[in-house]
């Protein structure tokens, strides 16, 4: 049978993505080399002044520092709670397993705005969490407009990706190794840390990369919980584009954000590969 050429079949989507993805992204990089003046708008200067401004201004450096802090905290917490949760889910009875996966992964299909609103209500000054703290005799916590508040809410938004990645990796793990460890007297914690976790590590690592990149570029949750004062890279880009109208500067922040995230992920990958190469027999 004569086959239709795959290039013909892929043609429409390639044309669409070239026009609506590749071209706009390339133009954004070019835009970052231009400059902005209040009277003239975007001026085609073709220099690095936006990058120089971002790198030399302590205001922007603090924003990038905060973004990194946020992304690292969310990634670590997601790994710490998401990996054990995936293992526990994999050991439930089939019926409870399906139900639990639905509950843990289902929120991925609910708008981030709705999920963040829930945390705004919980964390408010007289919100449920503070009422619970008061009932327990604990002091009031100001979580709204604070970095810990953003970390908690963003962890809630992103931890399903970690559970999903680890759960997928656990499908490849031979349950006999766990049983062997347990029959030799290992406690559940020991089984998890010494037998399961090393085998599930590829899942934890790919989950970390997904969570880290999404946390570093998150917009809605930092904007709603962090507010105007607690700016991160994504909300700074938003302000440059829609408030100050300095598009070239905003584009430079965006390029720096993408480059830093890619660099950190690649470096992390390299380090991990070396560790694994050293561990392999």
């Amino acid at each position: 049978m004569k086959k239709t050429s795959p290039f013909l079949l892929c043609g429409p989507v390639l044309a669409m993505y070239a026009l609506l993805l590749a071209a706009p992204l390339a133009m954004t990089v070019l835009l970052s080399f231009n400059s902005y003046s209040r009277s003239l708008g975007i001026v085609l200067t073709w220099d690095l002044r936006n990058y120089a401004e971002v790198i030399s201004d302590s205001y922007f450096l603090r924003i990038f520092g905060r973004t990194l802090q946020l992304a690292v905290a969310v990634t670590l917490i997601s790994a710490a709670i998401g990996a054990p949760e995936a293992w526990i889910i994999s050991r439930l009875s089939p019926r409870w397993r399906t139900f639990s996966l639905l509950v843990v992964l289902g929120p991925l299909l609910v708008s981030v705005v709705v999920r963040t609103l829930g945390w705004t209500i919980l964390m408010g000054g007289s919100g449920l969490l503070n009422q619970a703290f008061a009932a327990l005799g604990l002091p009031r916590a100001e979580m709204l407009f604070s970095l810990p508040g953003v970390v908690i809410a963003l962890t809630h938004v992103l931890v399903p990706f970690m559970v999903l990645a680890v759960w997928t990796a656990l499908q490849q793990v031979d349950p006999a190794t766990e049983n062997a460890a347990a029959s030799l007297g290992a406690s559940p914690a020991q089984v998890f840390l010494r037998v399961v976790l090393p085998q599930a590590m590829p899942g934890v690592l790919s989950g970390s990369i997904i969570v880290f990149s999404l946390a570093a570029s998150a917009f809605a949750t930092p904007a709603l919980i962090g507010g105007r004062r607690l700016k991160v890279a994504a909300t700074a880009i938003y302000d440059e584009f829609l408030a100050s109208l300095n598009w070239p500067l905003g584009a430079a922040i965006a390029v720096l954000l993408v480059v830093s995230v890619v660099a950190i992920v690649l470096l992390w990958n390299r380090l991990v590969e070396r560790r694994f190469a050293a561990m392999a027999p």
Binding site: M1, K3, T4, P6, F7, L8, L9, C10, P12, V13, L14, M16, Y17, L20, L21, P24, L25, M27, T28, L31, P84, E85, R91, T98, L101, L102, V103, G106, L109, V110, S111, V112, V113, V114, R115, L117, G118, I121, G124, H156, V159, L164, T168, Q171, P175, E178, N179, P188, A189, A216, S217, F219, L224, A234, I237, L242, A251, A254, V258, V261
Partner: protein
């Protein structure tokens, strides 16, 4: 035996509570009879659901989001169906490149896609139009559609098609009567997933929507940024209910366990 101990089950209960708490609190607060965000301690009331009707901009945004989801999910499915058949059923030079290219919107931060498309659409002079918004969402939801279509396309037994051809069916007839019905599960699953992704999308819409074409999540976002009355909770409850219904539909069409494991069992 592989069983969870008490500690494991307690951890699991806490984790599930953590995942559900913010959603449950939104759904509960939506039924408050009071004028401020609070749990409905004075009995449930539909006051704030009725209030939605007094805010025509929310109703308009709801329909914009529905139309946007329908248009972008359909357009994306139509454009990606031939590509998924090619990628899933044959090996050719540049196959991995095409695959990576279509999946790349998942890798590019949404805020970067947003500014890039804002600049691009404003140069073309279609920034803020509904059509422009549809094009942006079509690109954003592409990876979800492709993943589902690929899972379906790679599972097809080529012998069935060869049997159709040997019985005298033409290429188009074979595709329409034999291949397409076998792809239907992935097609429907991918379409629903794309609709949900578009219906939930905020960050790209922030940059490319105009006041006349504001989708529901963006309307909600702007409203929350200004004031938090129980109206945002009742609107969110409607979104939650719709998402839950679509999730159940997806489960029926495709099976959630298969959906979340990317089509692999």
């Amino acid at each position: 035996m592989r069983r969870n101990g008490i500690v494991g089950l307690a951890f699991h209960a806490l984790f599930v509570a953590f995942m559900l708490a913010p959603l449950a609190v939104v759904a509960l607060v939506a039924f408050t009879p009071d004028g401020y965000l609070s749990l409905p301690v004075h009995g449930p009331s539909l006051r704030w659901f009725r209030a939605i009707a007094d805010y025509p901009e929310f109703v308009d945004s709801f329909w914009i989001s529905i139309r946007l989801g329908l248009a972008s999910a359909s357009l994306s499915t139509i454009v990606l169906l031939p590509a998924a058949v090619a990628i899933g059923r044959s090996r050719f030079l540049g196959r991995d490149g095409v695959l990576a290219f279509v999946m790349s919107p998942l890798m590019v931060p949404a805020v970067v896609m947003g500014i890039a498309l804002l600049r691009f659409l404003s140069i073309l002079g279609i920034q803020g139009t509904f059509g422009g918004l549809v094009l942006c969402h079509t690109v954003v939801v592409g990876p979800y559609v492709l993943r589902m279509l690929l899972a379906a396309a790679t599972g097809i037994d080529g012998n069935v098609e060869r049997a159709a051809v040997s019985l005298g069916a033409g290429r188009f007839t074979t595709f329409r009567r034999v291949t397409l019905p076998m792809l239907l599960g992935g097609l429907a699953g991918g379409w629903v997933l794309a609709f949900i992704a578009s219906f939930d999308e905020l960050t790209v819409s922030v940059f490319v929507a105009s006041p006349q074409t504001t989708p529901l999540p963006l309307r909600l976002f702007s409203h929350i940024a200004e004031t938090t009355d129980p109206l945002v909770a009742s609107v969110s409850a409607v979104i939650l209910a719709l998402s839950a219904a679509l999730l159940i539909l997806l489960d029926r069409l495709y099976g959630v366990d298969r959906l979340f494991s990317g089509g692999r069992r």
